[in-house]
């Protein structure tokens, strides 16, 4: 009799867990809970202007987090996404302001510069067999230094390029639907996320991303040139960082060479909260997007509640640990 009751209870729990089987669901539920919590505690939170501010704040980190997701799914990590973003912004500044080239050249230049840096990181990892953590840590410092050197440690303003700030701050949606002035930066984030999500689930690149993260040696022994694909993945991630560079410099209407450090951690936090496994092989873009939104909502909501900046950081840290803990618990139980 005793064994009967004891054996039925775990299957009930496991059923419950299956219902919330995905970290995405868990993350999405947390996002909703946060939104509800903040709108109850502060009347200013649910204002349209504040919602737009949250989305705007998500755009840059979200794009970086998408880049980080690709690399993390391969079982690697990219610590250079933050300073790479700054570097590409500086490149855009030099092309547009110092050299007075047309806008598309600046944008393309920034993205290509990002892809090239990613290509370098990828080569360090794949060809020189340097662990991703170290390779991209080095890259992070190199790019931080190069940004300062190239800009003479002074901000570059985009005063010569008309409409540069509209890339991020304008609103194409607002022109069609005046009551919904979602900034272009957010639109770009969703486009980038959508494309990345498609690439991950439907293309060879995505398949090898998961394959390499799941068992790189098995993929290599299937006759796949895993080195080349890894470099490609880092390069794509670098290009996406270039887009983030355009977004942030457009929002500030300037390339700030001192900015960037710390962004990589926020991006990785978003990825992890979104349920992508740091050991590779598992992860989704939609999860990352939700993760980025959680980070932004948290920062914004705590600010609206007048919680001190220092405590905001502490709370974000706790949330990361809780999120990953919840994910671990789920995985253990489902085994």
């Amino acid at each position: 009799m005793t064994t009967e009751s004891q054996t039925t209870s775990p299957s009930f729990i496991s059923k419950l867990i299956k219902m919330t089987a995905h970290q995405r669901v868990l993350a999405f539920a947390s996002l909703v809970i946060l939104l509800v919590f903040f709108s109850i505690t502060s009347p200013n939170f649910m204002q349209m202007s504040n919602m737009l501010a949250i989305l705007q704040a998500t755009s840059v980190n979200g794009v970086l987090a998408v880049a980080a997701t690709l690399v993390i799914i391969t079982g690697g990590i990219d610590l250079s996404v933050g300073t790479l973003m700054t570097f590409t912004a500086v490149v855009a500044g030099i092309l547009l302001t110092n050299m007075n080239l047309p806008l598309p050249v600046g944008v393309l230049g920034a993205i290509l510069a990002g892809a090239f840096c990613g290509f370098c990181s990828g080569s360090f990892v794949a060809k020189m067999k340097i662990p991703p953590f170290i390779a991209t840590l080095g890259m992070m410092l190199i790019l931080k230094g190069l940004s300062l050197v190239l800009s003479g440690a002074r901000p570059i303003y985009f005063n010569n390029t008309e409409g540069y700030d509209a890339i991020s701050r304008g609103s194409l949606i607002g022109e069609v639907l005046p009551f919904l002035p979602i900034p272009n930066g957010v639109l770009i984030l969703f486009v980038v996320a959508g494309v990345a999500s498609y690439v991950l689930s439907k293309t060879v690149l995505g398949r090898y991303c998961f394959g390499i993260g799941s068992n790189e040696e098995a993929v290599r022994l299937s006759g796949v040139n895993t080195d080349r694909w890894k470099i490609a993945i880092y390069a794509v991630a670098g290009g996406i960082c270039g887009i983030a560079g355009i977004l942030i410099s457009s929002r500030l209407n300037s390339a700030q060479p001192a900015l960037g450090l710390g962004y990589e951690l926020e991006a990785i936090a978003a990825v992890v909260i979104g349920g992508t496994s740091l050991s590779g092989g598992r992860g989704t873009i939609i999860g990352t997007l939700i993760g980025a939104l959680i980070v932004a909502v948290l920062t914004n909501g705590l600010r609206v509640l007048s919680v001190a900046q220092e405590w905001q950081t502490v709370i974000t840290g706790i949330i990361i640990i809780l999120a990953v803990y919840a994910d671990m618990m789920r995985r253990q139980k489902s085994k």
Binding site: T3, E217, L221
Partner: protein
């Protein structure tokens, strides 16, 4: 003899393919009880329940006559159940003694580990069991057989009286197996009960007292080992008679040479190895562990670089330095270690089958054609009788034999002319073995050239049209296959 373990009406359900339906099992003290069954029969699941890894969905477990409820491996350990897994779980950079007593190190009041006492305690166990082990050696320096001894010592140090051994001889050579069996005998005399899982039939006769057979998650029967002919046990396992067929050597005199390896060298591991392989031929590679057979295969496949030598495919000299070069030249390699080198366990059957051929399933933009992949995957699932609920099942949930079939499907899809099978039936049961033999023969008949590396002599002799024997990195001879060669002749070349 008292009953150590009594399991009754055990039920276990999974979302995947495994399950147990009202299974019973008992173990007496001082007996070796073999648990037999094809892969997926439920042996491992049953043992995981006994060792507290899985929670059962129904039934009772008694240890020493008392009902027990294990909520984790620790509970089982405390009750005296020790398990030695097929894949050893040792920390390679720690010493032997540190491994045995991990988590239970003798320490002073400050928490400082008393290394001397640790080594002494380990030494005591080794002496009692007659193990030839130095407690201070790093585990990575030891052979697999010695490492296995550490696992046994570890289990005994927990005062385990019930020892589960899951294919303990899978990676051992004959001398090491003999050593293991001596240890098992002395454990028996101490009253330890041993549950022995193995796919090697001859071992059952040598070591087991009783045999319990399972099939498709159900209990079939328990018989006395010495009164029961092996053929009866096999037919209980597969549910039908399995005939022992012998190799039928085709006439290949007009067949063109597909592969020619000339003077291959790599350090001490491969020394001046030359051989050729014809279209439609199965060339067996026999030898002891560490003879260099896998190394030759990996070198030909480009997985490891070699120092000198030439690989000719179809009469052309090939410059193979990476696996992708080899695959482009039409060579496929099925590794001895499926889990590490053959499969992405976290991905589904479909993704694994198409892993080597993704280029064929993409349009010009690199977008995958899922529908085509699904169709091909299901074709192979049917053709090779892969037991899986669907092509989107994670490969990690399949049994060993079915995982191997997934790897084979991957290479068949790739249309390689030359296929290298490294231990194709390791960890695979009798029924699935016969299927895989048939498959290899069919592939040879279709005109593929096949290399089979195997540590099981009966397997090499059952399959090979010619038998290459290696010893310490050298190719010591190539013998004709079939009845023309005896096991003794092969062993003589393998132990030069």
């Amino acid at each position: 003899m008292s009953l150590l373990v009594e399991m009754q009406g055990i039920e276990k359900r999974f979302p995947g393919v495994y399950c147990l339906k009202s299974v019973g099992f008992e173990l007496r003290s001082g007996e070796v009880h073999a648990l037999m069954g094809e892969n997926g029969a439920g042996k491992s699941t049953l043992m995981k329940i006994l060792s507290g890894v899985y929670h059962r969905d129904g039934g009772t477990v008694k240890v020493d006559g008392a009902l027990v409820e294990f909520n984790g491996p620790k509970d089982a350990q405390d009750a005296g159940v020790g398990i030695i897994h097929q894949e050893l779980s040792l920390m390679n950079d720690l010493t032997v003694a540190q491994n045995v007593f991990i988590g239970r190190e003798p320490r002073s009041f400050l928490g400082i580990i008393n290394e001397k006492k640790l080594n002494l305690q380990a030494q005591e166990i080794f002496q009692k069991m007659n193990f030839d082990l130095d407690p201070t050696t790093e585990v990575s320096q030891l052979t697999v057989a010695k490492q296995q001894m550490i696992e046994i010592a570890k289990a005994l140090s927990y005062k385990s009286r019930i020892l589960i051994m899951d294919e303990p001889t899978a990676a051992l050579n004959d001398a090491e197996i003999a050593e293991l069996f001596t240890i098992i005998q002395s454990l028996k005399s101490e009253g330890v009960g041993i549950i022995y899982i193995s796919h090697k039939m001859d071992e059952i006769k040598r070591i087991a007292d009783r045999v319990t057979v399972m099939r498709d998650g159900e209990y079939i029967d328990t018989v006395e080992a010495k009164d029961t002919p092996l053929s009866t046990i096999i037919s209980m396992m597969v549910g039908r008679e399995v005939k022992d067929e012998s190799v039928d050597i085709p006439d290949l005199s007009d067949s063109p040479e597909l592969l020619n390896v000339k003077h291959l060298n790599r350090g001490k591991a491969i020394q001046d190895v030359s051989f050729s392989l014809k279209k439609g031929e199965i060339l067996g590679f026999a030898g002891l562990m560490g003879a260099g057979r896998t190394e030759v295969a990996r070198a030909i496949f480009g997985a490891d670089a070699f120092d000198s030598g030439e690989v000719w495919v179809n009469g052309e000299l090939c410059n193979i330095s990476t696996p992708s070069d080899a695959v482009a030249a039409g060579i496929g390699y099925l590794s001895e270690d499926r889990k590490h080198f053959g499969l992405a366990l976290g991905m589904d059957v479909r993704a694994n089958i198409s892993m080597a051929t993704l280029g064929r399933f993409t349009n010009s933009c690199g977008v995958l054609k899922e529908a085509d992949m699904e169709k091909i995957a299901n074709d192979y699932i049917e053709q090779l009788a892969i037991r899986t609920p669907s092509d989107t099942q994670e490969v990690g949930f399949l049994s060993g034999g079915n995982q191997q079939k997934v790897v084979i499907a991957k290479w068949l899809l790739r249309d390689c002319d030359i296929l290298i099978f490294d231990e194709p039936t390791r960890g695979i049961d009798v029924g699935a073995k016969a299927e895989i033999y048939k498959l290899l023969e069919a592939l040879a008949k279709q005109g593929r050239a096949i290399i089979v590396i195997s540590s099981e002599l009966p397997e090499v002799m059952r399959l090979s049209h010619r038998i290459a024997v290696m010893c310490q990195g050298k190719l010591t001879g190539i013998l004709p296959g079939g009845k023309a060669t005896t096991q003794e002749q092969i062993m003589a070349l393998a132990t030069q």
